[in-house]
């Protein structure tokens, strides 16, 4: 379980009014799929980075299973919005990176890396260079690269925002499948309301400047979700109007 206790983040520490996040309290349960939605600039990426340990709160603390988060860890995988594959490594060696730095035997590394590459459907591309992949494929490899470490939590920062709608929907389907197979906790940041309702158990809506939690929605729809049901559309309308007030 991840607990955010009264998180405030400001970039100019002394000055008030420069808070980008204010008094965030949030508990994320084990195995939960949580989406954080908010307008751009609301600090949602910063929030995710702090959970990863790539950034630190000005006030408050973030606790994972009774331990305060003090830095990045292989227990918290991170999928970036930007393409982040190592361009000098082929696809398989990208996926293998986490196990390689852990110091496992070569055989075990490649066996596991291949398993996760298969999970994201890219087995036949193991020798390809990242340059040769489409945007969607790159993000799939990035997901496999994070999962290979078998992290407790997967943090995802708008990983599908650069993709076209069809590809995005396909990857959302796959992500739901992987999540249910692997039993991971996923914290997924997006500005796309549709995406958040499709994916999450719970959607947390952040306000704009300073980012505060304005409302939390429990999404009790059956997966794989149908975007055209009245329940889905009503939720979408409600969250969208909430965000529009913010802008």
């Amino acid at each position: 379980m991840i607990t955010l206790e009264n998180i405030t983040k400001s970039f100019i520490q002394e000055e008030r009014g420069h808070n980008i996040l204010k008094n965030i309290n949030l508990k994320v349960n084990k195995g939960e799929f949580l989406c954080i939605v908010g307008p751009s600039g609301c600090g949602k990426t910063t929030l995710l980075r702090m959970i990863a340990g790539l950034d630190f709160p000005t006030n408050g603390q973030i606790i994972e299973d009774e331990t305060k988060i003090l830095g990045p860890s292989r227990e918290r995988g991170y999928v970036f919005q930007q393409y982040s594959l190592f361009p000098w490594r082929n696809v398989l060696d990208n996926v293998a990176f986490g196990l390689e730095v852990k110091g496992l035997e070569k055989e075990e590394i490649y066996q596991k890396a291949r398993k996760y590459l298969e999970m994201v459907g890219l087995s036949q591309y193991e020798n390809s260079s990242p340059k040769e992949l489409s945007g969607g494929m790159k993000q799939r490899v990035a997901i496999a690269r994070s999962l290979v470490n078998d992290p407790q939590v997967l943090l995802m920062d708008e990983p599908f925002s650069a993709l076209d709608v069809q590809t995005r929907h396909k990857l959302q389907d796959e992500l739901v499948r992987i999540w249910s197979e692997e039993q991971k906790t996923i914290i997924f940041v997006t500005h796309n309301v549709d995406e958040s309702i499709f994916l999450a158990d719970r959607v947390v809506v952040l306000s704009h400047k300073p980012g505060k939690i304005i409302k939390t929605f429990n999404i009790n729809l059956k997966r794989i979700r149908d975007r055209s049901t009245p329940e889905f559309l009503n939720l979408k309308k409600e969250i969208t109007s909430l965000l529009e007030i913010e802008l």
């Binding site: 790539l54 991170y78 930007q82 982040s84 986490g98 730095v101």
Partner: protein
Amino acid sequence: MRKIFISMILPVSIIIIWTILTTFTGLIPSYFLPSPFEVLQSFETLLMNGQLVQDTSLTLMRVVIGLTVSALVGIPLGILMGWSNTVKDFSSLMVGIFRPIPPIAWIPFAILWFGVGLESAIFIIFVGSVFPILINTMDGVKRVDKVLLESAYTLGASNSQVLRKVAVPASLPSIVTGLKVGVGVGLMCTVAAEMIGSNNGLGYLIFTSTSMLDTGSAIVGMLTIGVIGLGADYLFSRIEKDVSW
């Protein structure tokens, strides 16, 4: 094909004008500027008596050794300076003062310390080529995409693993660029060093031929340097392409 054709226009025109001026008008005496035929004759002589091959290989050897020393010092130091602000702050003043000093200014000291010969030349090449290599490497490490570094950290890599497995390979393009610039500077330094602190090599060949009014041989030496530089540039541009991520 078109590219080759266009690139040949200028050199061919120059050779034609050069031939006309030196051979047919008689306006320019050969000790002032030898004709292309005289240059070819000198080329043949130098090739036959083995001097050209000997001087070229000596110069090349000096460049290669000097550049290797520069790379061995400049690349690791550049990586550390790009990685750690402490190392950078520690060495920036020193680098800042020594970098603008023209390598040729070191020649008197080089001769004083190492005498006339190989060590002197290597020292001069080192002084000239170490800075471009160092600065390019440092910039490369500094400019590594933050997302790649952070990805590695979230995948469980330690500081030294991030440095070795991400920062260094990611800055390889800049390192190669540094080496490419370094070769050019190194070549210039070698020839300058050979003119003053040596008794062989292409620089020495140019210097002694000119002082004996054998301008044909001097031009052969100059063109040989040009060809070496062109070759080195081509080689490193190829490598640059291979590592351009």
